[in-house]
Every structure is written in C-alpha cells, then in structure tokens.
C-alpha cells in the first residue's frame, strides 16, 4: 500500500501548503501530548500515594476486641473479653489460606507518659510485643543487629529492637547501641537491633519512637498472661482477606462465647479493602485521563478532517484530472486516507516524544528537589504509548474517511469543469 511513489505523492501533497499542514498537525500533536501527560500525572499521583503501602502486606487486616453488645449463653452484654494466644494456632489450623497471623500487644502510646529509662535519660515510646513474622507484614530496614527471633519467643528473652527515634532520645551520638540495656516500665531489656521503617510517609516520628520485643516476654514482663491485644492477619496472595474475614470473625465469636450476630464485639481494620479503594480511585483517574485526553485528541482529529475536506475541495479539479488520466476512485480515496493517516501519525509521534520530554524534565526536577508528598515518578508504560498509537491510527483513518468519500463523489466531468 505504501510504495515509494505513494510516499512521494503524499509528501508532495502535504508540502504543497506547509503552514496549513503544520497548523493542522498541531491539533493532533497537542491532543496526544495532553493525553500522555494526563496519564503520566495520574501515574505519578498513584506512585506517590501507593508508596505509603509500598512493601506493606496489603492483603491484611487488623482485628481487636470490643465490648459485647448482646447477651449470650448467660453472659451479659457490655462484657469485655480478650483474644488468647491459642486463638492464633486455631486460626492457622482452621484457615490454611492465612499467610501470617501475628498476635500483638502494646504498651504506652504516642504522647504518653515517660516509660523508658536509660541512665539519666528518659522517653515516652510505643512498646510492642510481636512475633518474628511481623517484619514481613510491616517491612522495616534493620540498621544494626537483628529483629526478634523464634528462639527469643521460646526462651522469653528480655531483648528488644529499637527505632531511630529511641536511639536519638536515649543515646549520645556515636555511642554503641547493641548490647546496652534499657529499662522499660522497670524491666531491663537488652538491645539487639535498631530499625527504620521502609515506607514511613507521614508517620515518621511515631514509627521511629517504637520498641519491639518478643511477644512472650512482653506477656510475662507486663503481666498480660495469655492475652492478645490485637492481631495482624495476612492472607495468601491470590485470596483476598476481605473474603475470609467474616469466617474468621465467626470462629472468634464461637471461641469467646459471643452472640453470632454481635458484630460490635469484634473491631477490625481491613487494609486490603482500603487498598482496593485507593486502587479503584486510580483506575477511575486513569479512565478520566484517557477520556479527557481522547476528547482533546478528538478535536485535533476533527481539525484534520476539516482541513482534509478543504484540501479535497481545493483539489477537486486536480482529482478530476487524475481521474481523467486513469486514477480509479479507490486510488484517489486511499491517497486521501493515507495523507490523513500520515499527518495524524507523524504529528502524534511528535506529540508523544514531546510529552516524554516534559515527563523527563518533571522527573529531573523532582529528583533535584527531593520527594514531594503524594507524587512520585510520573511516567507512562509502553502499553500506554501503544494504545495512544492505536488511537492515532484509528482516528487518522476516521479523519480521512469523510474527505476521501467526498473526493470521489463528484463525477469527473463536473470536477474538471470547476475553475
């Protein structure tokens, strides 16, 4: 279809009125630039926001207990109960699709009273009793030493891992940290590691002022016995925790003599659902990007169609001459179609390149000024570029269709008569 002769014909025709060709091409150029930029910005926003979830096991939920709201089996309403450590084993055996079940306990809170002492220094920190799996649910970088281990759990060792904020509050600069002791609520703990949250955005300070210790040690040292404060539960990758959670609640209710319809007794936060919601939001934003971009592009396409109509009108006589010389209607039509196609695709390619340049500049600026809240690495994937190209080809053909038809509608004898 595209022989060298065809190219010559097309380029000659497009060159015949350079300024007009340029103006027409600008419409499509601008349309595709906006389309690609919109998608890139959406992507940047998405990258920025989902960075908060980055590395975190998003297929997770947190579950705690609240006062019952219904009397059941002779027990009154308004009763408080606790998960026990054997609930964890029960959950694991009942639901093989759960990847991690981490029981947790907490002491102290943000802005609480001073609860940790080292020599003359004191501080108020959040203290958690955890299992080793927890690092898989909430990824953190171990800066020195190690995280808690199963032998710590079994031996109920009084060890702890401390955040950078704790280090800053309790230690002098350049002081050795590992092997020192800190006193938490009057009990001495050996520091075996320091950590930094991998994805802290917004909660930096709180995350840094945290101390982790073995769950079993925590229970014994702070008199929690078998009680579990709350649980962080992660399902395997291909099964949504949201689909499992009702069954989990039912099991917990039956194990703790809670009325099966008492929904208030168990509190939970479904991270998976939140994440889905955010993902859904970005799907919509991406759709809006395509939609708005396509609309802008469409006005460019209409511009091309319009100009091609004028070109065809201007060249009516030329088309008549060509037909007198033996050009079939299809030859004429395909030439007009190809002219519009070439114009659309060329200007579209320039548009895509220009958008890529703008994205590159944006990234360079972002890199030099450092991270910006909720916005990171605006980019488009190669699929988006291909989609844009397909849109261009289709729209180029559409733009040429009406002009191509009108070019051959007139009888050659009438076309030749036009002055």
């Amino acid at each position: 279809m595209f022989s060298r002769d065809r190219w010559d014909e097309i380029l000659e025709a497009l060159n015949a009125n350079k300024f007009r060709t340029l103006l027409t091409a600008f419409g499509v150029f601008w349309g595709i630039t906006i389309l690609v930029l919109l998608l890139a910005l959406t992507n940047g926003l998405k990258n920025g926001v989902t960075a908060d979830f980055d590395g975190f096991a998003t297929n997770s939920m947190f579950m705690w207990t609240q006062g019952t709201s219904k009397p059941y089996k002779g027990l009154p309403k308004g009763r408080y109960f606790n998960y026990k450590i054997d609930d964890v084993a029960a959950l694991k055996s009942e639901f093989p699709n759960l990847k991690y079940v981490s029981p947790r306990n907490q002491l102290g809170g943000y802005n609480g009273a001073n609860n940790v002492v080292r020599g003359t220094k004191t501080g108020a920190f959040e203290i958690y009793g955890d299992y080793p799996e927890y690092i898989n649910q909430q990824p953190m970088d171990i800066l020195q030493g190690r995280f808690i281990s199963y032998s710590d759990i079994e031996a109920k060792r009084k060890v702890c891992v401390i955040g950078t904020g704790v280090v800053k509050g309790l230690y002098d600069k350049d002081e050795d940290i590992l092997g020192t002791y800190i006193k938490v609520n009057g009990v001495n703990f050996l520091v075996v590691g320091t950590f930094k949250m991998s994805n802290s955005q917004g909660d930096d300070e709180q995350d840094a002022n945290t101390i982790y210790m073995p769950f079993t040690t925590f229970g014994q040292a702070f008199n929690r016995g078998e009680n579990v404060g709350w649980m962080a539960i992660t399902a395997v990758d291909n099964i949504s925790i949201t689909s499992l959670k009702q069954q989990i609640f039912e099991l917990m209710k039956s194990r703790h003599k809670v009325h099966p319809e008492d929904d208030r007794a168990i509190g939970h936060f479904d991270l998976s659902e939140q994440f889905e919601r955010v993902s859904g939001l970005f799907s919509i934003l991406t759709f809006v990007g395509y939609f708005v971009g396509a609309l802008v592009l469409m006005s460019g396409i209409i511009g091309i169609s319009n100009i091609m109509l004028i070109v065809v009108k201007e060249r009516t006589k030329e088309i008549g001459v060509r037909r007198a010389l033996g050009a079939s209607p299809w030859t004429i039509k395909s030439q007009i179609l190809q002219e519009s196609l070439v114009l659309t695709i060329l200007s579209g390619m320039v548009g895509i390149s220009f958008a890529a340049l703008v994205i590159w500049i944006m990234n360079t600026i972002l890199d030099s000024v450092g991270p910006v809240q909720n916005f990171a690495n605006p980019s488009v994937s190669i699929q988006v570029v291909f989609t844009a190209l397909i849109i261009l080809v289709v729209s180029g053909l559409l733009a040429g269709l009406i002009p191509a038809n009108s070019a051959t509608k007139m009888k050659p004898v009438d076309a030749l008569r036009i002055e």
């Binding site: 001459v321 007198a324 209607p329 050659p412 004898v413």
Partner: protein
C-alpha cells in the same frame, strides 16, 4: 476506431430538461485527425466528454476500438481512459506542485509502471514535444505554449488509441496556437487518431475532416484539404 450510433444526451435541471445531443451518428477511422466545430451550446463538449468516458450517454451506441462502451462503473472507466484515451484540455490542467516530468509520468503511474521505466518514457515524450530541458520545472515556470506541450506529452505518455483535445488552443495566442497545432499534426502524421474540439476556423482547417454540430445534431461532416501549420509559423 470510433463508432457512434444514435447518441442521445439530456441534462435535467430541476423541472427543465435540456436535450443536448439529439441523435449523433459518426465514425472515425484509425489515423484520422477530426475537428468538431460548433457554437457554444451546440453539444460539442458534451460529445467529447462522452467520447472520453467522463460522462455517459442516455441512449445510443459507442464502440471504441471494437470495445462497446456501456454501463461502465468508475473503476473500469478509469482503466479504459488510461488505456485508450489521452486528454488535452484548454486550461492545460497540469498539477501545479509536480514537475513537468512528473506530470507526464502520471498516466504511467496509474497504469502501474515501475518508476525507472516511467521516468524514461516520460522523458522520451518530453523530448518529443521539445521540452527535455524543462523536465524539472514546475508548471508555473513554463509559458502557456510550453504548458500545453507538457499536457500533450502527458496525453501521449500511456500510448493511447485516441487523443481527445478540448479547445487545445483556446488559451493561447495565434503564434503559439499554430505551434501547438504543428505538434498535433506531427503526432497525427505518425498515425495517431486525434479529435479536436474547436470553434476557430483556422484551427479546424488544419485538421483533415470537419464535423459541424448545431443544436445537438451534425449538420455537416466533410473532409477538407489540410493546411499545414508549419506554413504559418
């Protein structure tokens, strides 16, 4: 070469109907140089358009080189025009953004001939009309006479059976007209069948036969003594 029997054509404009050709009968043999004369409105252009398959007759028979021309769709008409006919127009109708050479090679392009052969042939015909040196000039850089020569070269390029010239000298001064006619006579001398529509007597007398049209019928069809254009140049 051309046989026409009882050709009728009318145009409809709203409720009015204009009967332009009212039964034309005439034959042209191979190698003839015929002029079709008549005042404006006599139907001579309509006749030429029908002969050129640019327009279709309402009734009647038209046989070109033993091929009956009827019920053509545009695709076949385009093919026949390309194979059988060469057009020469009053206003030259060159494509203004193409060089003389490219203009001449256009019919060959539509015939599907390869670029190299096309350029050679086109160059050959440009030489024939004496414009080889002008081959890369645009039509806007040529004089009227030169443009018409390019147009004649273009009409000849696909080696058609018949040349159809619609007022080929209508836009030219007398001297240039005679030069163009000299060229046409020369092509006829080589055996090409040529039909010329004109309303100028001196041009008509440079052909070998004059067909006179009036109000859609042939009132006179006679052979004439050909005046050689070279005598006037």
């Amino acid at each position: 070469m051309i046989q026409i029997k009882d050709l009728h054509k009318s145009y409809h404009m709203g409720s009015n109907s204009l009967h332009v050709l009212k039964g034309i009968n005439f034959n042209v043999k191979e190698g003839e140089l015929v002029s079709i004369m008549g005042s404006s409105g006599s139907g001579k252009s309509t006749l030429l358009n029908i002969l050129g398959m640019l327009d279709e007759a309402d009734t009647g028979e038209y046989i070109l080189d033993n091929v009956p021309i009827k019920n053509l769709n545009e695709k076949i008409a385009a093919k026949y025009r390309n194979e059988f006919l060469g057009f020469i127009f009053q206003s030259f109708n060159l494509i203004n953004y193409k060089s003389a050479l490219d203009n001449v090679s256009m019919p060959l392009y539509y015939k599907g001939i390869k670029r190299k052969e096309r350029t050679e042939k086109a160059m050959h015909y440009l030489q024939k009309v004496g414009l080889a040196e002008w081959s890369h000039h645009l039509p806007s850089e040529l004089s009227g006479g030169q443009k018409q020569r390019v147009a004649i070269a273009r009409a000849l390029a696909s080696d058609p059976k018949v040349l159809l010239a619609d007022e080929p000298t209508g836009a030219l001064d007398t001297k240039t007209s005679y030069e163009v006619m000299e060229l046409i006579q020369g092509i006829n001398d080589e055996g090409k069948t040529i039909l010329v529509v004109t309303h100028e007597d001196d041009i008509a007398h440079m052909t070998k036969r004059i067909v006179n049209l009036k109000d859609g019928i042939i009132i006179d069809d006679s052979k004439v003594e050909q005046v050689r254009a070279s005598l006037h140049v």
